[in-house]
């Protein structure tokens, strides 16, 4: 049972000068759990966030596919879209409600998804905080602006 050894890499880090009394630093994983890890926050925020993603997702499938069909496929497709087309649709409270619900659900759904991605990938608490501040600012701005436009749209503007 002859065995042959071929070590392609020599483990001699002589330049670094590490030894038994001077070991190299080990690489800690980000945010390891310790006994001092903050204990339960006792809120149901994550539960509601998880539920919201599922429920809003179901509603958005209907709203968004309907929206895409009306805007891009049916009745002449994208070429029909113009000021008159939008004004005509928003004359009806039904389409105003459709667009308003779609705006709110899509923005909150996307923002919550990005929030979980930031929670997953941001290592430092500071990075985490500022990325979320940026996210919430952008979300609130877009939702408020869209809501304002839907409710104050004036078809006679010139």
């Amino acid at each position: 049972m002859a065995t042959t050894e071929s070590s392609s890499v020599e483990l001699t880090g002589s330049s670094a000068g590490y030894g038994v009394d001077n070991p190299a630093p080990v690489i800690e994983p980000p945010r390891a759990r310790t006994a001092r890890t903050p204990k339960s926050t006792r809120t149901n925020f994550e539960l509601y966030g998880w539920l919201f993603m599922r429920l809003s997702g179901i509603v958005l499938v209907v709203l968004v596919i309907g929206h895409l069909l009306i805007q891009l496929v049916l009745d002449g497709g994208v070429s029909k879209i113009g000021f008159a087309f939008v004004a005509g649709r928003w004359a009806s409270p039904f389409w105003m409600a459709w667009d308003l619900i779609m705006l709110w659900l899509a923005m909150l759904h996307g923002a919550n998804g990005l929030r979980t991605i930031i929670n997953d990938y941001a290592e430092r608490d500071g990075t985490r905080f500022w990325l979320k501040m940026l996210l919430w600012t952008a979300t609130v701005f877009t939702i408020l602006l869209g809501t304002l436009v839907i409710f104050t749209f004036d078809p006679n503007i010139r």
Partner: protein, 256 residues
């Protein structure tokens, strides 16, 4: 060098039909020794071994015959102590349950430490954060009232309810295969949730509410993205993702 060849055995007598056909397999092992270098690096070992042997046998052969500095954990070597979980050919497995013939030995077999934990030396990692998460879900029977004079009885159906999650051997193959855990060690990880599940759904236990409250936390079950890495990694065949989903369902049905 890395191609496996079936070595011809010397012609045996007529009764030598049980002769073992050895192959030459290359093991590419991720080495790290903080007393030598701050850098981890790959090192190739070639061993002649029966393909029906396990990866652990090859590691033993390397440690005992080629390089005694190779460091890895193993205790029982029969798939029940959970010491030798490692990343073999890019998948978390137990070295003592992985046959060499099953992992295409004609190519170099990569062996490295499980991910998401501090590598201390070669294949040995610091398991403390993993066990901290395990302790945090209170993995012990919680009851109230007087101790019964005899054993706590349970129907076969009640026992069956959590049977799958009793199989866990705490090898950390699931937790260290979870991408959420890689990025954020604050997440409890699949193994801790599996062991909470084992008591939450035990009819004799009365601490289910507390454990559900702990896993309702922002680092609890809601961080699971159902990527099923844990179910694929579990050497005991536990349906880990299903157990996590059952805890989620219990939290929602408790609430509504």
């Amino acid at each position: 060098m890395s191609t496996a060849t079936l070595d011809k055995q010397e012609p045996k007598d007529a009764t030598g039909s049980a002769a073992v056909e050895l192959i030459t397999a290359t093991f590419r092992i991720r080495r790290f020794n903080p007393e030598v270098s701050a850098e981890a690096s790959w090192e190739d070992f070639q061993v002649e071994i029966d393909p029906k042997e396990r990866v652990l046998d090859a590691l033993h052969k390397i440690k005992w015959e080629l390089d005694g500095t190779l460091t890895f954990r193993r205790s029982c070597a029969h798939g029940i102590c959970g010491s030798d979980a490692m990343r073999i050919n890019g998948r978390n497995r137990l070295a003592c349950k992985t046959l060499i013939k099953d992992i295409s030995p004609e190519k170099p077999i990569t062996v490295e430490a499980i991910k998401g934990m501090t590598v201390l030396k070669d294949l040995v990692v610091d398991m403390e954060p993993f066990f901290q998460a395990y302790r945090d879900v209170m993995p012990f029977l919680i009851t109230s009232g007087n101790e019964p004079t005899r054993e706590r009885l349970q129907t076969a159906e009640d026992r069956e309810r959590f049977d799958d999650t009793t199989k866990c051997i705490l090898c950390a193959a699931c937790t260290s295969s979870c991408p959420v855990f890689w990025n954020d060690g604050q997440y409890f990880g699949p193994a801790a949730i599996v062991n909470a599940h084992r008591f939450i759904f035990d009819s004799r236990d009365e601490g289910g509410e507390q454990r559900l409250e702990i896993l309702n936390d922002k680092d609890g079950v809601w961080r699971c993205r159902t990527t099923f890495n844990c179910t694929d990694a579990c050497p005991r065949g536990i349906e880990v993702t299903k157990a996590i989903q059952e805890v989620k369902r219990a939290l929602i049905t408790r609430r509504f």
